[in-house]
């Protein structure tokens, strides 16, 4: 039983870490909280649904499509909406409300275009493995591998490539990055696109396990915020830690308590935790 909870927690945590990474990247480079991140995840699930189930392509093709579509949407948002608003708004909250507006926009467009019915996709792999006295469906291992590879690719991107260095520099200090000759506009757009792409990966991957419907964005957004609060906003290791911790907490909670009390206890413990450590485990002071 304990083994099962731990394994479930790890698998869930890896996918949650992906979501947290996307949100933390946007926060790091643009200092705004992207309320629409959950809705982008939802678009990822729908893209996967259409490419994989309706058109019948291979799941990996669906995954790539989902990343591509979300990245394009992310780039468009950054270029036409956020860049304009961040340029001249007197108060910083305007960008946050803009992200709320985009979230509502995506969610309601999805409701209109895709309808309200919940959808599901066929599983990719059949079969269950019996390891360490636990039952792990083969599909879950597949999800775990994709999530871990995405995280590893993202980390390599941030550490080793020029773009990654530019993004990290942008997160630290925007003006000095400009002085260093980095094309901040292009890099911001790329950063937002990468974050949206991460949401797309998560969407594709979780579409296999959970129902696909237009309202799934809000719950994911709230979970993503909780992960950021636990791990610290704007810090990449913090996002990964936050994601895994939330995954484990959720798994333990559902295993021991079950039902709606799980998240109540999680939120209550997060509030208590934050009273001792307001910036999360690895966060820098902000405000």
């Amino acid at each position: 039983m304990v083994n099962q909870i731990i394994i479930n927690g790890m698998i869930l945590g890896s996918t949650y870490a992906l979501i947290a990474l996307g949100l933390t990247l946007v926060f790091g480079i643009m200092k705004i909280i992207n309320f629409a991140h959950g809705q982008m995840y939802m678009l990822g699930t729908f893209t996967t649904y259409y490419v994989y189930s309706i058109f019948g392509y291979n799941f990996l093709v669906a995954l790539l499509c989902s990343i591509f579509v979300l990245a394009v949407i992310g780039a468009i948002f950054e270029r036409y909406l956020y860049r304009r608003v961040l340029g001249f708004a007197k108060r910083e909250e305007v960008a946050m409300l803009l992200s709320v507006g985009t979230a509502l926009l995506i969610e309601d467009s999805a409701l209109i275009f895709f309808g309200e019915k919940r959808k599901g996709v066929k599983p990719v792999l059949e079969g269950v493995y019996h390891i360490f006295n636990t039952y792990i469906p083969a599909q879950r291992i597949f999800i775990f591998l994709i999530a871990i590879s995405a995280i590893v690719i993202f980390l390599v991107l941030m550490q080793k490539t020029k773009t990654g260095r530019a993004l990290r520099a942008l997160a630290q200090d925007k003006e000095v990055t400009c002085l260093m000759g980095v094309n901040v506009k292009k890099v911001s757009m790329l950063g937002f696109a990468i974050a949206a792409g991460l949401a797309g990966v998560t969407g594709a991957v979780l579409a296999l396990e959970y129902p696909i419907y237009a309202g799934s964005g809000t719950a994911i957004s709230i979970k993503a915020f909780t992960m950021l609060m636990i791990g610290g906003a704007g810090v990449i290791p913090g996002a990964i830690i936050g994601g895994f911790i939330l995954g484990m907490l959720e798994s333990i909670g559902y295993g021991v308590f079950g039902g709606s009390e799980t998240y109540l206890l999680i939120y209550a413990s997060v509030i208590v935790f934050l009273s001792f450590r307001p910036h999360g485990i690895m966060g820098k002071p902000w405000g």
């Binding site: 001249f88 985009t102 926009l105 409701l111 915020f225 109540l264 509030i271 934050l274 009273s275």
Partner: protein, 338 residues
Amino acid sequence: MSSDKFLHKDGLLKLKDNKLIIIIGAIYFVAVPLFCRNSPYFLSVIINYSILSCISLGVWLTFSIGRINIGQAAFVGIGGYTTAILITKLGMSFWISFLLSGVIAAFFSLLLGFVLLRLKGIYFSMITLTLTASINLVFLNTDFITQGANGIMNIPRPGAVNIGNFTIIPSFRTENYYILFYYLVSIILLVCFICIWRLYNSRIGWIFRALRQNETLAQSIGINIIKYRIMAYTICGFLGGIGGSLFVVYIQNIFPDSFKVVDSINYMLYCFLGGLDYIFGPILGSFLLTICFELLRTIQKYQNLIYAIIIICLMLWLPNGIMSIKLPKKIKLLLNKK
């Protein structure tokens, strides 16, 4: 920010010799009852936006100390459930429950404020968002008080207030209760507005402005920032509580997710639309967005989508709110503004 702006910001609302006040007062207390007495729809729109304005005034107050508060729906819910439980289970009259809901919501915001207000910036926003979601779960899971997912229904409307044989406030359980509700919420809105206006233009209001600009600096000149930010948050909770109480007797039921995250975001939006630097902002914002939402009712399917597009357009082109638009000179002279 130039201090000049703060001095003239509410010049439009100076209580002496200003025609605008008289016009608004006349419309509110004479014209509307006269013409709309028999159309519950118009009255219900006004009642709706008035209660939303009260709640948004609370959110505005937390904006004025520099915090982005997305947790107001939690206190509206607490106030609402308090009233519902007191009226249905303990049989109290609405008028006492109304005040008690405000007090209890203020009490909870006082307690939570000690913990939550330590966080700043986006952490505060995120935790208040989580607070809204958690309070919904609390209501869902405490079956023994709140009846859980079934909610509390058939809440009776307020009764009369009598002193001896003399009726001060007529009973709401009659046919034309809409007009009575209209008067009730309008008067409450007026009282709240005057109180907040008085508060913001007093010494405490200037302390709030100082907190908004730079909390550390304010602390360094000797302001007790903990006391004042908790004060602001408590007043915000109180306004949320009485708003919830009014909603509950108006709609006559309450469920765990009657007031959720999207409602919190709406309250914030009303403040934004009206203009965060003006006390009249949240009232104007809730008025305009409520009207806008009603007008869109005919295109039911696209209602939310157009609402979202309007929000985005507002952020792109009118980020400082509607009241930041400068009136042309002729209209200024007409309204007697200096």
